[in-house]
């Protein structure tokens, strides 16, 4: 029934603002003087630093090794000298261990010569290992280690690879530009992933507001394997795994289960291109494409940025902030995190930097709920945010669990539509953290 519509139910249509950077070619940022590499840039256990202050590292060298299976290594993104290994502001607002590397002045920043493995000659297992050693994680924001996704459990085989080219967050054009400028790379990455997983079918879902990306991907579609480009209606949060699966396949992933439960693996388009890059250049994940945008920045751009570049350096490279800049967000404005410190580094999972001007961000205070029910009509997983909000305000977290708080993915739709400007999504995030802490203590 929903197959014909090619979208999911509910959701919202925030203004896109993508025109700021949708046509901007990806440029390379000059190497910053210093990069800071937090050991926690991925979901799972933080990496373990293996360098000490004073060590000399070259671009692409391993500086922190994975700690266990659900973890990921971290590589130096510039050639230079390790200045310190210690606490540093982290994009999530806390301080965490990070490796500071001072770039060598006048260095050509050339990586060591390395052997580029031929992906056709490697077995699926060796491919997964290569992906792991390159520190590849999902570049859509959550930064889940890709090698873990590529090793599905025996009893839950993947039958379809779904590539997420929705980029449903307003403002961001990272995936969009990758698909337009490097469509072959996306297709190569899809092939490598298909080989790892042993699947014969892949679908790339792209929202219709990116006709140039759809055209580029369709034009470069290889004839010898089953990769299909699927245009989708435009709606937020279509890039959420469960929403994308609903949109493309018309099935609901059961509550509390992973997409693997319906035999699907979802990977973001930019991450797929990164996998291809690993087998094209032999370099690990040490740089990524970042959209720097918003009305608060003088020169909105799409940039190739070394991982660990500090926010201040990046803003400077884009002409600096305008006088009415009010809020800096890592990621998209719907789910991204506000930044309070210009020394905060960009990590592997930073999809964009949005500098919102005063006119763009939310400034009004919350008012009384008038029970208009717009939040219920917006929630993509059909929760009752109005009631959950009431429980959150009263601190009745246990009851919130009974009202399916766990199904909430904090997409922000409810807060976005609320005419009384009640911070519902924010309260749910706080409640989730509180429940987790309570559990950890008990």
């Amino acid at each position: 029934m929903f197959l014909s519509r090619l979208t999911f139910r509910h959701g919202v249509h925030p203004p896109e603002h993508k025109a700021l950077t949708a046509g901007a070619r990806i440029r390379r940022l000059p190497f910053p003087r210093e990069v800071v590499l937090p050991v926690r840039q991925h979901a799972g256990k933080p990496a373990r630093p293996i360098v000490k202050p004073g060590d000399r590292v070259e671009r692409g060298d391993l500086v922190a090794e994975p700690d266990g299976w659900i973890s990921s290594p971290i590589h130096a993104s510039v050639s230079g000298r390790v200045v310190s290994v210690g606490l540093w502001p982290h994009p999530d607002g806390t301080h965490d261990t990070a490796i500071r590397i001072e770039a060598e002045p006048y260095s050509a920043q050339l990586p060591r010569p390395r052997i580029v493995p031929d992906w056709r000659a490697l077995s699926p297992k060796e491919l997964v290992e290569a992906v792991r050693d390159a520190g590849v994680v999902g570049l859509g924001g959550a930064a889940f280690p890709t090698h873990v996704k590529l090793s599905p459990p025996q009893d839950m085989p993947v039958t379809l690879l779904l590539i997420n080219g929705c980029e449903c967050e307003p403002y961001l054009t990272t995936d969009h530009r990758s698909m337009v400028e490097y469509p072959e790379r996306v297709h190569l990455g899809v092939r490598i992933m298909m080989r790892c997983l042993g699947v014969s079918k892949a679908i790339i879902g792209v929202e219709r507001n990116k006709p140039d990306a759809i055209a580029a991907l369709t034009a470069t579609c290889p004839g010898d394997c089953d990769i299909r480009v699927q245009p989708l209606d435009v709606k937020y949060p279509q890039g959420a795994e469960k929403m994308l699966i609903q949109a493309v396949m018309g099935v609901e992933v059961p509550s509390g289960k992973l997409p693997g439960h319906v035999g699907v693996l979802v990977q973001n388009a930019a991450s797929v291109a990164t996998i291809a890059e690993v087998f094209e250049t032999g370099l690990p994940l040490i740089e990524r494409i970042v959209t720097v945008t918003g009305r608060g920045i003088r020169r909105p751009s799409n940039l190739i940025v070394p991982v660990g570049t500090k926010l201040g350096d990046l803003l400077e490279a884009c002409g600096g902030m305008t006088p009415d800049a009010r809020e800096i967000v890592f990621g998209g404005p719907m789910m991204g995190a506000s930044q309070a410190n210009l020394d905060t580094p960009l990590t592997k999972g930073t999809t964009g930097v949005v500098v919102l001007s005063k006119a763009e961000c939310r400034t009004q205070a919350a008012e009384a709920c008038i029970k208009c029910g717009r939040c219920l009509d917006a929630c993509p997983v059909f929760l009752n945010p109005q009631h959950l909000g009431k429980l959150a305000k009263a601190g009745r977290y246990d009851e919130m669990t009974a009202w399916h708080l766990n199904d909430c993915m904090v997409c922000g739709c409810c807060s976005y539509v609320c005419p009384s400007n009640i911070p519902l999504s924010q309260q749910f995030q706080a409640a989730k953290v509180a429940i987790r802490q309570r559990k950890a203590v008990a």
Partner: protein
């Protein structure tokens, strides 16, 4: 350079604010107000002014700083004024509005907390306190537009001078004298009734505008109209002399105003869309029951108030299905 702010996501806000929604409701009522003044002359304007003044003053006394600007008190005053007889003494209208806002809203804790629609509660209060004045309906035809249609200027607690020409409403005529009023008279506002009953067409237009702007949930008026029409059709078919036709049932009395503007008050209506259908159908059934077999000729006020009281139960019974649960294919996969 302004200091940067740090907030939780999402960092964008949608277009509408509660205040804008409420003011959209106020603006959409302007044609209805004009129609009622056109029909009943200065009397309607006096009653509306008194009712608005009573509501706004009560809000000013009990409300939070600046709560007048949200427009809700103004809406309550206007809606109450529109469902009163045009000849009602002004002090009664003001008292009713004060009771509606005070007892209907602030006793429960202010905007968003009330169980019953404040305007309807104010009307029910007046109905109980001044039953004679509340059923003295001025007649429009045969009197000057400029004449007062009742003793609007009576002093508080004095008995009103009974010198105005009055007549029964079309629903009263039908109930007590078995006389049918032509539907065209209802549409053109030629019949007697409360100030707002004459503007059925304008009420529909205003409601349509609000529904398109997503300031009003169309399911509630739609389900009320559908259920009333369906029941009226059946009864009219059974006994055309006793029971009214479908257009009569829809355009007589306060049904239009109640269905479009009062039942749709989001605070006192269910929050789920399925619940809204149940709520509307319940109102429709109750309206027909009261009109056909109750002691009063009109039942919209009590039908909505009764359903208001049932809203928590309706909400509980119609909670949405959570994504990924409760579907046959989903449950099968979970079992695997």
């Amino acid at each position: 350079m302004t200091p940067l702010q740090v907030t939780g996501s999402p960092h964008l806000a949608g277009q509408d604010t509660t205040r804008q929604i409420m003011w959209a409701v106020v603006w959409s009522l302007v044609p209805v107000v004009v129609a009622s003044v056109y029909a009943f002359g200065p009397s309607a304007a006096l009653v509306l002014t008194a009712s608005v003044a009573g509501a706004v003053l009560t809000e000013r006394i009990f409300g939070k700083q600046g709560s007048l600007l949200d427009g809700t008190a103004l809406i309550t005053g206007l809606l109450l004024g529109l469902c009163l007889p045009a000849g009602l003494p002004m002090w009664m209208a003001a008292l009713g509005a004060a009771a509606g806002v005070g007892l209907g809203k602030f006793v429960f804790g202010g905007l968003g907390q009330n169980v019953f629609n404040p305007a309807l509660l104010g009307r029910a209060f007046l109905q109980a306190a001044f039953p004679v004045a509340m059923t003295t309906w001025p007649v429009r035809t045969g009197v000057s537009w400029w004449s007062l249609k009742g003793d609007n200027l009576a002093w508080p607690l004095m008995s009103a001078a009974p010198d105005a020409i009055t007549g029964a409403t079309p629903l009263g005529l039908l109930k007590f004298e078995q006389t049918h009023t032509p539907v065209i008279d209802l549409l053109l506002g030629q019949a007697s009734g409360s100030a707002g009953e004459v503007g059925g067409v304008f009420i529909l237009l205003g409601g349509g505008y609000l529904a398109l702007r997503n300031c009003l949930n169309w399911r509630i008026p739609a389900s009320i109209f559908l259920s009333v029409a369906a029941l009226a059709f059946v009864f009219h078919w059974i006994d055309a002399a006793r029971y009214p036709s479908v257009p009569f049932a829809l355009f007589s009395g306060g049904l239009m105003l109640g269905a479009v503007y009062m039942a749709t008050d989001p605070v006192t209506a269910p929050i789920t869309n399925r619940g809204r259908w149940i709520f509307g159908i319940g109102i429709g059934v109750l309206v027909v029951l009261i009109r056909n077999w109750g002691g009063l000729p009109e039942g919209v006020v009590y039908a909505i108030l009764i359903m208001n009281a049932l809203v928590p139960f309706i909400n509980r019974a119609t909670q949405p299905r959570i994504f990924g649960t409760g579907l046959p294919d989903v449950d099968r996969r979970v079992a695997q």
